[in-house]
């Protein structure tokens, strides 16, 4: 009788716990992601009129009175559920759909922070925007420590010489 109890306990610990963790990671992770995307969409529509371009020279109709370097960055981690799914995906190969929205929202967040940085100091536009991705290593040798991906957006923010310089 006692041995069956331990067998059940062992079964629960070995398979139940990881499964529970997977479930929690999936539910909480999905909730957080939805909330984040809502916030991103809201702020993006707020800044829709703020010009952000990747040209390496200023468009001809801009005349700048001052400029500075602005940047925005975010470090994100991959959740447990997504790591497991990606691990399974790696066996057969192909597109890992769980990672795509994660990287997308990090990149959009970095862009938004760059724009917020520029707006806070009263700049009117950003050009020569560059995006960079870098991976932070695990903190433990066995590869089980925390790891993250950093997204960095940076560009040159300018103040227009006259408020209506861009209107023509």
């Amino acid at each position: 009788m006692e041995s069956t109890f331990y067998q059940v306990l062992e079964l629960v610990l070995n398979f139940g716990l990881p499964f529970l963790l997977l479930l929690v990671a999936y539910i909480v992770g999905t909730m957080l992601e939805k909330g984040h995307f809502r916030s991103i969409r809201k702020r993006e529509s707020e800044y829709a009129t703020f010009p952000v371009v990747t040209f390496d020279t200023m468009p001809d109709d801009w005349s700048a009175s001052s400029s500075t370097l602005v940047s925005g960055s975010v470090v994100i981690s991959l959740d447990y559920f997504k790591r497991v799914i990606a691990g399974l995906r790696a066996i057969v190969g192909g597109r890992i759909k769980t990672y795509e929205p994660l990287l997308e929202r990090a990149r959009r967040e970095a862009m938004l922070r760059m724009i917020e940085d520029a707006r806070r100091d009263g700049y009117d536009a950003i050009f020569n925007v560059r995006l960079e991705t870098s991976r932070l290593a695990n903190s433990r040798r066995d590869g089980k420590g925390t790891a993250g991906v950093e997204m960095l957006a940076f560009g040159t923010a300018v103040k227009f010489a006259s408020r209506f310089a861009r209107a023509q």
Partner: protein, 104 residues
């Protein structure tokens, strides 16, 4: 000191080049942040502690680059680039470089 990641400072003329200036810093994440990040690794999302750490480090690297440019007598740094590399377990190097110039 004016900084830009373009080849010139908008609306200004470059009159003199001083050469490449660099600034770097190597940072390790501390254990308290790592524990929080460990929890975040289950549900995913932003690791705010790390974001702040890297942002601070990048600012410091940029400041060092600016100091070097100032010691050369430059008043602007153009074509600034950033690089990040994780050099060992839990430590990362933040690196900023650009060209020191004098603008009028």
């Amino acid at each position: 000191m004016e900084i830009s990641n373009t080849e010139s400072i908008p609306g200004r003329n470059i009159v003199q080049f001083y050469g490449v200036v660099t600034g770097n810093t190597v940072r390790a994440k501390h254990i308290g942040r790592d524990i929080m990040a460990g929890l975040k690794n289950i549900v995913g999302g932003e690791l705010a502690g790390y974001t702040e750490l890297l942002q601070d480090s990048r600012n410091e690297a940029t400041q060092r680059m600016i100091q070097q440019a100032e010691s050369m007598g430059a008043n602007a740094v153009v074509n600034v680039r950033f690089a990040t590399s994780s050099i060992s377990q839990g430590a990362a190097e933040l690196f900023a470089y650009g060209t020191a110039v004098r603008v009028e």
